[in-house]
Symmetry: C7
Subunit: 95 residues, 7 copies
């Protein structure tokens, strides 16, 4: 089974805080809007909602930060994923 996000959407696998702490590094704190670390599972074709070609700045396998409460949750093969729009992704994390 394969998931193909439409437009500028991105399917993300949220990463547990544990693995974050081990690998080291990204911990959301209590203030302001919170962020969440995740791995990119699938990306759309890079057009925004008005059909304009913007391109995808993230690719499958990237580790990214996104706003913790944005997006729509889905479950595939008993694993939870989140579908967000690319502008909801804050940054790419490179080890």
């Amino acid at each position: 089974m394969k998931i193909k996000p439409l437009f500028d959407r991105v399917v993300l696998l949220p990463l547990e805080s544990d693995s974050e702490t081990k690998g080291g590094i990204i911990l959301p704190t209590a203030a302001q809007e919170k962020s969440q670390l995740a791995k990119v599972i699938a990306v759309g074709d890079g057009r925004n909602a008005e059909g304009k070609e913007i391109g995808m700045s993230v690719k499958v396998g990237d580790k990214v930060l996104y706003g913790k409460y944005t997006g729509t949750e889905i479950t595939m093969d008993e694993q939870k994923y989140v579908v967000v729009r690319q502008p909801d992704i804050l940054a790419i994390i490179e080890d």
Copy 2:
């Protein structure tokens, strides 16, 4: 009888959670916005609400995920359908 959605609208047949579980795979969970699996029944001509030609990225027969509470419900031949705009569709699911 035939239904022709206008602009970028899509007529969807929501699929039951049961059939989802059997075929395996997509289960909306409790957090965040929920998603719903559905089959595409009819598609519009691909123009958005401002009349701009964007094209349809889904076709009749596709299995798609959409935001569970978006769209307008209709009933044809005693079957419930939902009419959504294409940007409300999150992703295409390929088996």
Copy 3:
């Protein structure tokens, strides 16, 4: 007496649920936003509110579905009609 809708407006004659049931087929149900079957009585010149030429995708005599609570109600010759904008029309129904 004749009614000429401005811009992308459409004058609709809402059809009773009874006639719907007889002819067969479209019944709004209780969930989500509801739809309403109607017959197109008059159409505007196809420009949207910003004056952009979009064209009319519905014509006089078409049977259409629209969001049940959109539009403005008027009464002509003791018959109730509803005036909606074309983007409020969901789909054309062909027998």
Copy 4:
């Protein structure tokens, strides 16, 4: 004294329901948004609020329907008028 509406504004003289009933025909009913019959008294130069030339589709003397509670009320020579933007006008009524 003369009133010159700016941009796409239109000065309307609301017509009483009585005269409507006599001439026959347009009666707002209780559901949804209500409409009001009126006579066009003066029209602007046809540019919208962003200065774009859209042109006026109504002219002085036209009988029109508009959303009953839109616009700004003014009084000239002890007669009440309403100033609306052209997009607030639903349709022209021709006898």
Copy 5:
């Protein structure tokens, strides 16, 4: 001292209802949004907030109607004025 409004702003001197009644003519009534008669004191350079050149349709000395509760109040030389944007002006009144 001189006041130079920026962009499409207009400095208005609201006229008292008394003078209106004497000269005759414009009286805001109780329904809907109210209007206010005023004299134009100074005008901006005619660009809107996005910097687009729209031009001023009112000039110093014009008598105009504007939405009674729009704009920002200022006081110069112990006289109250109101600063509005040109789109808040409904119409020019010519005697």
Copy 6:
């Protein structure tokens, strides 16, 4: 130390009502939105938030009126300033 506002932002030094009254002239009153007299301390490069070149219509040293409760307050060298966007400035006051 020097402050360089980004885009169409302007750093203002609000002027006390006292000095206003002495020099004569601008007194905000109680009705509607209030205005505030201020001196321009620094200006941005004149692009708006979408990056469009609009240009600055105010320059360092100008006395301006702005909406009293707009902007963000900062303190430099124990002096309070306000950072506003150029469209929040109502008018330039020339003596």
Copy 7:
């Protein structure tokens, strides 16, 4: 580990009020919206959310003021950072 902000985003290290006071100078006060001094840690590629190339006006190492409660908080290597969009940055501070 390296963080690459997307589009027009900027990663900021908020500076303590103490260091501000020592170096001298920027102290947010209680009124209106508050500002916060910060150091630029990483910048995006300068496109805004619609993909339009605007360019970055701040660079790594700059000291900037931003709206205190804007942005999303993240933690890297036990240090708190804030991710904001470039238009949320008010001004660059040069010593």
